[in-house]
């Protein structure tokens, strides 16, 4: 599913923490509407790669263009780019001093100048969509992990992003809560959202991904459709990884 005009274009990106290479010459294009799932062993650089897409991590070398904006161009307002790119974290990171509704409305009100009434109405729609409208006036500490993560997804969607990044969204959850979060993500995928997900949920990858990216030691070793990836992985490291987890 390559495209001449990708919404994310990562070209030859390397990143070093001190002397250690977290990413080595990584290149990846993501087309609008595409769902890419990044998997790999821990420490393989998959989260780092994801976080470079909205520049939560700076890169040492290479080029990343998101929605036409070169992230290293000094004239590009990174905050404008970030408004187009929603992000969901492993540890939810909801704002504990705001209610669920306020978590969702804070950014649209402060950054887009939306009126409180409009923002509330939109937030209620989003909370309904992630199935947690009845908790709108509760503080995050009162919610389960799965509920918090669904609020976090609604919060990211409130900025009406073109791209959604998921950084191991279910890894911090109790097993019984993983499903409710994945359901929301699957629905989002069906609506045509461009998604890049780092996850260990192979079922989700198989069901949703257009392409699966396998990483190890800061490099992309294999990019394949789920059918190819799970049935006939090419790279020996991929084969070994899949043997271990499946």
């Amino acid at each position: 599913m390559s495209n001449d005009n990708p919404i994310i274009r990562i070209t030859d990106v390397s990143k070093y923490f001190d002397q250690v290479a977290a990413l080595q010459s990584v290149s990846l294009d993501v087309a609008a509407g595409e769902k890419v799932v990044i998997i790999g062993p821990s420490g393989s650089g998959k989260s780092t790669l994801l976080r470079t897409i909205n520049r939560l991590e700076d890169i040492s070398r290479g080029k990343i263009v998101v929605d036409g904006f070169d992230l290293d161009d000094a004239t590009v307002d990174i905050n404008k780019v970030r408004m187009e790119v929603g992000m969901v974290f492993q540890s939810f990171n909801l704002f504990p001093h705001k209610t669920v509704l306020q978590n969702v409305t804070l950014a649209p009100i402060k950054l887009k100048g939306m009126t409180k009434a409009d923002a509330d109405a939109m937030a209620q729609k989003l909370l309904d969509k992630v199935g947690i409208l009845e908790k709108a006036d509760v503080f995050p500490a009162k919610l389960s992990g799965g509920q918090q993560q669904r609020v976090a997804i609604a919060r990211a969607l409130a900025m009406n992003p073109k791209i959604m990044l998921f950084d191991e969204p279910t890894s911090a959850l109790d097993p019984e809560m993983i499903g409710e979060v994945l359901d929301v993500m699957v629905r989002l995928a069906r609506e045509g959202m461009t998604m890049v997900c780092v996850t260990h949920e192979m079922g989700f990858a198989r069901e949703v991904a257009d392409r699966i990216v396998f990483m190890d030691e800061g490099q992309i070793l294999e990019v394949a459709t789920p059918a190819e990836f799970f049935v006939s992985p090419k790279h020996p490291r991929t084969q070994k990884f899949l043997e271990q987890i499946l």
């Binding site: 939560l56 001093h97 804070l106 500490a141 900025m159």
Partner: protein, 269 residues
């Protein structure tokens, strides 16, 4: 108490109650609240007894010092307000990525922490007073707030760095810039951790305002000394002064704990 642990050495005699296993008493624990009530009631009763049973000299002292109380109150309130501003600026400076801003803030803290408050008071009042005329009250407020601003700067810095980095990442990923993130997300949360130590600083500051009586400022202690040196009734005067300080301090500490409760209530529900 939901659970009790009974240890019987001699059956039926030794009972050790370890409560419900929570080592740290909660703020709602009645045992803690009563400490404040006890001191406050005690102070009021002592005051009332002194005024009622020995109006001479206590009532006369009590009538002599109120303008001193007002001055103490003024110095305290202005200094707290200004120290909060200095503290916030210093705290933000200490975590700044700009090395010059960081250096200036850190140097300020090191110097102010290293010089006794009384020396700072003298310095601003006398040494600076030779160059520019500084009114008494302003000199007092300035030295108090410069000093406490440095302490509070450290408290602010600790409170801000205690907010998990994920909060910053979440805010930045939504498109908030550094300043907006600090204002909307980090500071409101930092304020919760900061309030108890800042409350302590408020109380310490109130008590330290008594140092300004050394200068020309007619605060509570100064008025007390004036009365004592006229009447030679040192014991009575300073008993009265101490009781009044205690009552004011207790009121302030109550205000701080009410604020604390409101904030934690807001988050925990």
């Amino acid at each position: 108490m939901t659970k009790q642990c009974k240890t019987s050495v001699d059956p039926g005699h030794v009972v050790i109650d370890v409560g419900d296993g929570a080592a740290i008493p909660k703020p709602s624990d009645k045992g803690l609240v009563s400490a404040w009530r006890l001191s406050f009631a005690g102070a009021l009763i002592v005051l009332a007894c002194l005024l009622y049973f020995k109006p001479d000299p206590y009532l006369r002292i009590f009538k002599f010092v109120p303008d001193g109380i007002l001055v103490t109150f003024q110095v305290t309130v202005y200094s707290i307000a200004l120290a909060l501003v200095f503290g916030l600026i210093t705290g933000l400076g200490r975590i700044s990525r700009n090395k010059y801003v960081n250096l200036v803030a850190s140097t300020y803290v090191e110097i102010v922490r290293g010089v006794p408050l009384l020396v700072q008071l003298f310095y601003i009042y006398y040494a600076l007073g030779r160059l520019v005329h500084v009114p008494d009250l302003l000199a007092a407020v300035l030295s108090m707030s410069v000093c406490y601003g440095a302490y509070m700067g450290e408290v602010f810095r600790a409170g801000i760095t205690a907010v998990p980095v994920g909060q910053t990442e979440a805010a930045r990923s939504l498109g908030f810039n550094r300043t907006q993130t600090m204002y909307h997300v980090i500071l409101p949360q930092a304020w919760r951790t900061i309030l108890p130590p800042v409350g302590n600083e408020f109380i310490a500051l109130l008590k330290d305002t008594s140092l300004v009586s050394i200068l020309g400022v007619a605060d509570l202690l100064r008025r007390g000394r004036e009365y004592a040196s006229e009447s030679f009734q040192y014991f009575e005067t300073f008993t009265m002064v101490a009781v009044i300080y205690l009552i004011i301090t207790l009121i302030l500490s109550k205000l701080v704990s009410i604020m604390e409760e409101r904030l934690s209530h807001h988050v925990k529900r």
